[in-house]
């Protein structure tokens, strides 16, 4: 299972990194990100103080996206504000996220 370190797409961590409980004061969280481009999600490790936009960009790059305004959508279909930190956006450890674009219409 590929687990990508924050800011360094492609760095893999061992599966046991997903099994261990992170201490509450850990600066990191782990998220499983799905893209509409491939069937399987990928695990990433992000810093909690990283912005949603920055974290989504890491995931987007890993999935082959170029440009755009990537962000995350939660299982409850909430599109997260790219400017918030992951912690402020309420993202929790082991959360499942969808990669979406935050661009506008019209």
């Amino acid at each position: 299972m590929a687990v990508t370190a924050e800011g360094a797409p492609g760095d893999e961590l061992v599966a046991s990194d997903l099994e261990e409980e992170l201490p509450e004061d850990s600066p990191f969280l782990r998220g499983k990100v799905f893209s509409p481009r491939v069937p399987d999600g990928e695990w990433f490790r992000f810093r909690k103080d990283q912005t949603v936009g920055s974290a989504a960009q890491v995931a987007a790059t890993k999935f082959g996206y170029e440009g755009g305004s990537p962000t995350f959508e939660t299982k409850n279909k909430v599109v997260l504000d790219r400017n918030l930190t992951l912690a402020a956006a309420g993202v929790h450890d082991r959360e499942v996220l969808e990669l979406v674009d935050a661009g506008t219409g019209v």
Binding site: P36, E98, G103
Partner: protein, 161 residues
């Protein structure tokens, strides 16, 4: 206008399809791909009013050209009127346009040069859809497009009428 042979279009679609299909399964959409007709039908429930909403994309020429996305009367190929076309909503501009067109660079029908109801003559022709710049929604695969429609649908308060 660039034209890709149907065999090339089918190869592109087949490459993208597993991701799009998996996205649909995760997100409660029904998708049906007709590779002979190069047509994708996608449906779900409008989250605010719990009514079916359905989209048909004609894929001839894809990806030299973007798909021609129609909002249709559910279960038919007829273009939706206001009763079946989602209302725009949310914090920013929506793709659900008052002309009853999905207004996005990835919809061939958004280009005035293709469709008289297309709102845009400022994006160049549809051949340049992959390089339209600005704050507009960006979706370069069929899965990305379905996800984009779903995002705007989530903030739609209902149907146009």
């Amino acid at each position: 206008m660039s034209v890709l042979p149907p065999s090339a279009v089918r190869a592109i679609i087949q490459n993208e399809w597993p991701g799009a299909q998996a996205w649909a399964e995760r997100n409660g959409w029904t998708v049906d791909l007709d590779l002979d007709e190069l047509r994708l039908r996608a449906s779900t429930e409008h989250p605010a009013v719990r009514r079916p909403v359905e989209f048909v994309a004609y894929l001839g020429g894809y990806r030299a050209l973007p798909p021609a996305w129609h909002v249709v009367v559910p279960g038919t190929d007829r273009d939706a009127g206001k009763d079946d076309f989602p209302q725009p909503g949310g914090p920013g501009p929506s793709i659900f346009h008052g002309n009853l067109v999905l207004c996005a660079p990835w919809n061939r029908l958004a280009y005035k040069s293709v469709n008289p109801n297309g709102p845009h003559d400022d994006w160049g022709g549809p051949e340049g859809w992959l390089s339209v710049s600005g704050e507009h929604t960006r979706a370069h695969t069929l899965g990305d497009m379905l996800a984009a429609i779903d995002v705007f649908l989530q903030s739609s308060p209902g149907m146009m009428a």
